[in-house]
């Protein structure tokens, strides 16, 4: 049972979980972001263990590389009162904790001795090519729809973030 893969998985999963817990528990947003980076990178590690190397690289490129930096950028541009307020009463905290624990127990009960039939797969061979072929043939409709989605997100964020220039009058 103690294969190298298992050890690697335990290590990566531990880092991912610790990153997630720290993200919730730290009060300084910058510290949270760094914790988040660790989680993102370890999730990429899990993808590698699952022979999804393309997804792993994209996970790092997009999440750890781009999204985190954009968020850091946003944090730096805002004012420096960067600590979150202390959450509500301890009773409430306890209730939330119980809820989380209960949910974890419910899920653990479901998966701790689940045996899924192993299917023959060839995911590790030319992983990127397989993804590309699926995207551009079988899933071309959702793929193209995603481009509309991204365009909407882009237009929307520009609309909402654009500076109000009504008071400056019409220069153009």
């Amino acid at each position: 049972m103690m294969s190298g893969e298992f050890i690697a998985f335990m290590g990566i999963a531990l880092v991912a979980v610790i990153g997630g817990v720290l993200l919730l528990n730290l009060s300084n947003v910058m510290h949270m972001m760094v914790a988040l980076v660790f989680t993102f990178v370890s999730i990429a590690g899990i993808y590698v263990l699952l022979s999804a190397e393309f997804v792993a690289a994209v996970q790092i490129l997009i999440y750890a590389g781009a999204i985190t930096i954009i968020m850091l950028f946003g944090i730096m541009l805002t004012r420096h009162e960067d600590t979150s307020e202390a959450p509500g009463s301890s009773w409430r905290k306890f209730a939330v904790f119980l809820g989380v624990l209960g949910f974890a127990a419910v899920l653990y009960f479901g998966i701790y001795n689940l045996d899924l039939p192993q299917m023959e797969n060839t995911l590790h061979e030319k992983n990127t090519m397989q993804i590309g072929e699926a995207l551009y043939s079988k899933f071309v409709i959702p793929f193209e729809l995603t481009s509309v989605l991204l365009l909407v997100a882009l237009i929307g964020s520009i609309m909402l973030a654009k500076k109000d220039d009504e008071k400056e009058g019409d220069k153009e």
Partner: protein, 506 residues
Amino acid sequence: MELEQLLDFKWSIMTPEFIILGVATLLSILDLFMPKSMDRKILGWIGVAGIAAATVSLAGFIDEPVTSILFDTFRLDSFAKAFKFILLIGSLFVLLLAISFEKKDGLAEFAGEFYYLFLTALLGAMFMASSGDLITLFIGLELLTISSWVLVGVTKRNKKSNESAMKYVINGGISTAITLFGLSYIYGLTGTTNIKDMSGTLMTMGGSQNQLYLLAIAFFMTLVGLSFKLATAPFHMWAPDVYEGAPTPVTAFLSIVSKTAGFVIIVRIFVSIFGSVPATGAQDALPMLLHLQDYIGFLAGATMIIGNVIALRQRNIKRMFAYSSIAHAGYILVAFTSMSYFTFDAIWFYLLAYLFMNVGAFAIIQLVGAKAGSDDISAYAGLYRRAPILAVTFAVLILSLAGIPGTAGFIGKLNIFMGAFATEPAHYVLASILIATSVVSYFYYFGIMTQMFFRPAADDSKFNIPVALLVVLIGSVVGTIALGILPNIAFDFLHDNFMQFKDFLQ
């Protein structure tokens, strides 16, 4: 897969979607090159024309047999057609509302975007209606959601709008995460995203206790996550704030198109996937959907009670309609819970009726709200003296919402009510909650009527109704009364063309 193979598919069945996409693109380009000072209303009319064209082209496919493209990532079955009609007609009315909406609070600057974001949201909803693959369904859902986030926050200089957009985004994000979590379990258990394959795999799998347990978890997570779109319990709390803060056409959009899309995706996923899984290991056991329907029933009951009871205390008409819309979603959930022979018909009819009565009501809310400058219920005092026809129109719509005989709302409720008894065992408790909460709802609906007919008016100024609003009002009243007196128009249409949705699972 070679290009020829791709081109072999019958892409023409996507014409309505292509029209909407094309018009949205056209609007964005026109908006870019139009001089800044020019009125953007013309873009709205182009959008209306586009939706009308899409409706016509959809009507052209009405006799088309079930067609699917690319392994069901897009499929046109009668279910898709029937609900796409509701989505298109609803969006048509909503866009007309948007055209006559007064552009203030920073909206004027983005009037062009305002119109084409409605179209992209509609596009997302349409894809949700006609796909048999979870990936397309999810992307459609997200397209609809993200477009609506932007639409809710579009009036930037309005604090309430900002607040509501923020709440909407956070709630939406959480609900999406929960939905995806649930769906990922189903995917993990079946190894495919194609809904038909999923149900096939699950049916033959037999299922160990563990797998069924996980499926049940997936069932609840997905249901809870998707309840955000419906604004039903437990994800209903965003509705009042968002309905109040968002511009009125957007509120109408959320309560009509977005809600319809939510029911569409719920029916699609739950009936196809969980309707075919045996709830226990035995082959002849009840499907999981029926096995767990008590829980859906519980949510439906809670939703009806919460919606109708809290609505009693509202003074702001948009908040009141938010709770009323929660309650109506609860009624439709009753139909979904009972899963009788005519559940689909009941849901379809109720959504259609709800479309007509609600869009008309929001048209009047928009008109009166713009005039009075507030959405307080007192703005409706003496409406009958000031504008008798308007008041009577509103009264008809409200009566329909309340479910008084002679209106579409009554027939809709009757269908659901009968459906609840048609199954074995019958859902007496749910049916009685439906009746009781309907009676409760009379209080607040009639509260508005009292204001309109029996209170003195604060000022006597008249309303001048823009053309677009007039079209909406006439359409909604005619629709409400016609469906109320002659419901068979709709049912015959349904039965003649859609064959009881028999091709839903094929």
